[in-house]
Amino acid sequence: MQEEKTNDRRNFLKTIALGSAAVAGVGAGMFSAPGDRSLAIGVPRARAEGTRYKTAFIQWQPHTVPAAWSKGIEEVLGPQQVIDYELLDGQNKVEVQVSLVETLISQGAAVIFLQPIDSVALAPSIAKAKRAGISVITLNIDATEPHASHVEMNHYYGAMDIAKAMGDAMGGKGKVAILNAPPGIIIRDQRTNGFVDGLKKHHPDIQVVADQVADWDRKKAQDVLNTILAANPDLGGVYGVNDSMALGAVDVAKEKGLLGKIAIFGNDGETAALESIEAGELTGTQYTDVYQQGRLAAPAATVLATGGVEAGAFAQQSRLLMPYVIATKANVGSIQPSQRW
């Protein structure tokens, strides 16, 4: 058993060394193997050998959130000169993400950051990466296959707090509508269930009269909310499951002169939403420092890549829930420009 473990470890080191050597070593004219067992975990050894570690982040599709994660990751990995980092686009397609993971495996990547489109569909690929000794760190959407680490926004409890703040703004009674994401995505369920449970807990007299899909999209949210308002002219609150949809609701409220009469909340905390709050239009949003989320995921990658920690060595996957604030006009000024994404 012990022997097997040592072998695994040695294979892992070999994969890492040869993998990155083939990528960068040829150019640098160096092709040395590391002296394997004397290494202490956590000590970067590659610098001496001239090898580089490849890391990549496979995003879902281009959006403000993964762009900010990527920037946070780059800030940390960039100055560490032994690590190469690149951002890859999953094009909102499971098969593209799976193909990219496989390409990274054959490239001998050391660590893969992944924002999986689906928790189950990417699980076989994560298992494959683990077998090849590659650590996977997921962002926001967890996978059913245990892996090195998972860093996510606090969707469920954040949404509960949004419900509380919205109910407070509405005086504890009235009707609300949810502008929702297309079904089939875990964070949609977490952000919706958290909101509904939060209302039940803090403001049981508030009624959810509509829950409709607006595709994460500002324009679509305008159309959907117009329809909802036609059926419910006395609507007191709107919850957009992301900021884009909440801002679409703000557009409608402005146009119909309902600004200030309807409490509108978003989720994520992107710059446009914070500015809208400062302008007195959007009531509030759940703000997460997404740069920070990327910065927190990155050091784990450094340790996993350069410390020789085996991908299969995790009995339990680490899980980090990001801190958040419910940003409203009262506190939005405390969010610094450098924290805005």
Binding site: A22, V23, E86, L88, D89, Q91, N92, K93, V94, E95, V98, S99, L100, E102, T103, I105, S106, Q107, G108, I117, D118, S119, V120, A121, L122, A123, P124, T144, P182, P183, G184, I186, D189
Partner: protein
Amino acid sequence: MASFFRISAIVNMRSASAALALFFAATIVFFCVSAPRFATASTVENLMSGFSFVAILAMGQAFPILVRGIDLSIGAIVGLVGMIVFDLSLIGQLPGYLILPLALLAGALAGAVNGVLVVHLRLQPFIATLATLAAYRGLTYAISGRQLVPGLTTTPIRDPWLTGIETYFDVGGWLGLSRLVNMPWVPLSFVIMLAVFVVLQVLLTSTRFGRDIYATGGNHEAARLAGIRVNNVIIAAYALAGLCAAIAALIMVARFTTATEALGAGMELTAIAAAVIGGVSLAGGVGAMFGPALGAFLLGAILIGLTLQGVPQFVQQIITGAILLAAVGYDRLLSVRRQRRLTAASTAAT
């Protein structure tokens, strides 16, 4: 006259296939030289496992195009069949050996509906299949077990009959080649792709149905006057496209151990691109199975190669577009030449 047309079509097809094969070989050589770690067993394995289902879709797509149609709904059929498999397995708890034939039947039926719309309602294929694209995708959401039963979103499919499709064979080891060189393991999906290729190619070249397909694509009216039941041929062509989409769906579900509502979205365009790159003429009546299959792997090799080179993905899309344009241009060139020869022959005859 008719036989002359057949011969010249075959000659053109041959030269188109040869050109594609050459281009494919050149692409592979280019990446082997320029892309780090492209010339490895694992890249070959990734290409086979990641693009066999695209090749199957492209071969299926070739049939509607051969009869002067197009099927925009095959991506949606992939999604629909995937969700049917998901529901039958996780909610219905049906055994996989029953689900497999049901899935294939569902795909063929969905395809046949396209054919019926085209033939009996006389809809433009583009419009008919655009409508079913929306309808099938909507139906996929409507029957989604992920929403009907909470908790299934995170439940993988474990039925060995279904997941068994994602199996790899150590062919190199059996042949003893692995002792000489690091050989890729061959995924079952690639073997399925080869089987589909052989069956469809034989169907096209050696059966009456195949001749009817070419005749119908060449000229509907002439084919009808020649006694071919054109309507049935067209419906069968769309049904075959649906059947191929179902096979692709089964491979994808096995690969992902689940089906999402968006499964296969946009894949109809990749399949059409692969078919056109593979020399299937959008004017109908010209094309075979070799081209579309190789076209799919060409697109795959380019995607993998450029990713290994670190080329941004939007550049990859531009390059794919350029290749598609070149292929259509080449097809046009061949057809202009064909037309000229035809005119020359007919003037000579009079």
